[in-house]
């Protein structure tokens, strides 16, 4: 069932983030089993899988929110267990969540949230933090009254931008996006994905995109791994996997997502 031995996004570049034969479980049940991957600076890795595949749990392990039962997750060569709260490596890997509303403190405005991050994580003095926060938020496309409004007044797209801004304020090396656009409208999804592409280019950020949507994986990632029931069933360059899936499950997924003729041409000219 497992295919290539060679790890995706591999090569000699030092991996910012790596997982080595990671197994994760709750109360004796293995949710993820023997997964390995590497994320180098500026890479775009996709983790594709349907519900129950363990991809979200894997994402949590990659950010250091949970620790593996077996194997290790290392950031800059160090295991998460060894990275303390105040350790500079802590901020290297940040996360974007599926539900932007849950990811924001309902009583804090976007500016307040980002200011706090700048102050606590980057040591920006309080009096400057507010203004710097405004700059960070502008970079993700939030400005004007939206910055000083509480989350319940913002649209889904605006909330997700705020979440991205907060993560960005840490100046991370890797952004792990767990279904970042699943709860958003199609046109808003496009805005957020475009934003992520732009930010990657501007900041040299690596992106790990965890999603069930193969179309998004196809559009956003260079390499990907396909998960099912906790294990990796296929991995390699995204284009190759989607064009010529070797595993039956991958093939079924590709058919389901991209099956019907999408050879509609290069899209509208504008």
């Amino acid at each position: 069932m497992m295919t290539a031995d060679r790890l995706p996004a591999g090569g000699e570049a030092t991996a910012l983030l790596a997982a080595d034969k990671v197994s994760l479980g709750y109360a004796g049940v293995a949710v993820v089993h023997g997964v390995s991957l590497r994320v180098s600076s500026g890479a775009a890795l996709g983790i594709a899988g349907e519900s129950g595949s363990g991809k979200s749990t894997l994402a949590r392990a990659l950010v250091g929110d949970i620790f593996p039962v077996r194997g290790s997750v290392t950031v800059n060569g160090r295991a998460w267990k060894d990275v303390g709260r105040k350790d500079p490596d802590r901020r290297l890997v940040q996360m974007i969540f599926q539900d932007p509303y849950s990811a924001l403190n309902p009583r804090m405005t976007a500016r307040q949230a980002v200011s706090e991050t700048l102050h606590v994580v980057r040591g920006v003095p309080r009096r400057d933090a507010g203004e710097r926060a405004g700059e960070v938020l502008a970079r993700v496309g939030l400005s004007g009254s939206a910055i000083d409004a509480r989350p319940h007044r913002l649209s889904g797209g605006q909330r997700q931008r705020a979440v991205i801004a907060r993560a960005l304020a840490c100046e991370p090396g890797v952004l792990i996006a767990d279904e970042p656009t699943s709860s958003l409208d199609v046109s808003i999804q496009a805005q957020i994905l475009d934003l992520l592409v732009d930010l990657r280019a501007e900041h040299g950020l690596a992106l790990v995109l965890v999603t069930h949507d193969l179309a998004v994986i196809k559009h956003m990632t260079d390499t990907c791994i396909v998960m099912r029931d906790g294990i990796v069933v296929e991995e390699g360059p995204t284009q190759q996997i989607l064009a010529e899936p070797r595993h039956d499950y991958t093939r079924a997924l590709v058919d389901a997502h991209l099956g019907s003729p999408n050879s509609i041409g290069p899209g509208p000219k504008r």
């Binding site: 929110d65 990811a103 319940h152």
Partner: protein, 303 residues
């Protein structure tokens, strides 16, 4: 049945009871009603200060013949000692409101802190132990516990010039009230723990203290405060009840429950002694209920 329940379950129960005919958006009480409801208790308190000066009647002095029916000179009549009930009713508000504010205020703050602390502690067993104490306190009938405290502290005790019995009442409400808020705060804190923004805070390296104090606590307090207003109604009623039972504020200080106690044997000939304090109690309760409802709806709108 506890006075306070987690927001989530209230919403769930409300949703289940939604009428089949139409799911109308839950209406807010009209703004003017809330303003009026907020203004009335304030007005009562102000009158409580002003009336003795305006009328020249002290709430504790015998100013006229006893048991006079309501008249222009004494709108609420006089009691068995010839004290003016009108003035007494309004001055009594200070006592009841004070107990409610201090009792509920301190209990809710203390309880919230305990609840949040317990929810975020890593020390094993603390959560369990404290919650069992909370369960025990809540399981007791409140009045029985309050009575017990009053007996222990003694009704005669007078502190800082406060009316007799007040310190005992404070103690009663504080020592019992915190438990309800601790339970509410804890369950809120636990459910907040799993929200993504708390995860994000951990990922950014925020300290547990910062997360508890600056993120979790304000949200929890918003909920507890909203319920505290509703709790205040009950506290006022309980103070009156305890006084009625002879275990609350002692004479000669005016207090609604105390006044109703005085009037109970004379209902047939001096109904005004019981009616007017009762009306004050009910009015206060209604106003607080409206304010509490408004506060809770605002909270749920935001959540």
């Amino acid at each position: 049945m506890t006075l306070v329940t987690p927001v989530g379950s209230t919403q769930a129960r409300r949703a289940q009871r939604a009428p089949r005919r139409s799911l109308r958006l839950r209406r807010r009480l009209p703004g003017w009603l809330v303003l009026v409801a907020a203004a009335i208790p304030i007005l009562i308190v102000i009158l409580g200060f002003a009336l003795p000066k305006l009328t020249g009647y002290s709430p504790t002095a015998f100013v006229a013949r006893p048991l006079l029916a309501p008249s222009w000179a004494h709108p609420f009549g006089t009691d068995q000692f010839g004290r003016d009930i009108f003035v007494r009713c309004f001055v009594a508000s200070h006592i009841d409101y004070l107990v409610a504010v201090v009792g509920v205020g301190v209990a809710s703050i203390a309880g919230s802190i305990i609840g949040v602390a317990v929810a975020s502690t890593r020390v094993r067993g603390v959560d369990w132990a404290v919650m069992r104490i909370v369960d025990a306190v809540i399981a007791f009938p409140f009045i029985v516990l309050a009575l017990a405290f009053v007996v222990v502290f003694g009704q005669g005790a007078s502190l800082l010039g406060l009316p007799q019995g007040m310190p005992a009442l404070f103690a009663a409400f504080l020592l019992v009230g915190w438990a309800y808020y601790a339970r509410l705060a804890r369950s809120q804190a636990v459910s907040l723990r799993s929200r993504d923004f708390v995860t994000a805070a951990h990922l950014m390296g925020y300290s547990n203290t910062r997360i508890s104090l600056r993120h979790v606590m304000p949200i929890v307090m918003a909920t507890t405060m909203a319920y505290a207003v509703g709790d205040a109604i009950l506290t006022v009623a309980l103070t009156a009840s305890l006084s009625f039972l002879g275990a609350g504020i002692g004479p000669p200080a005016p207090e609604w429950g105390q006044m109703m106690f005085d009037g109970r044997g004379l209902l047939q000939i001096a109904w005004w002694m019981t009616l007017f304090p009762a009306l004050m109690l009910v009015t206060s309760g209604l106003c607080l209920a409206v304010i509490a409802d408004h506060a809770i709806k605002r909270l749920e709108d935001r959540a």
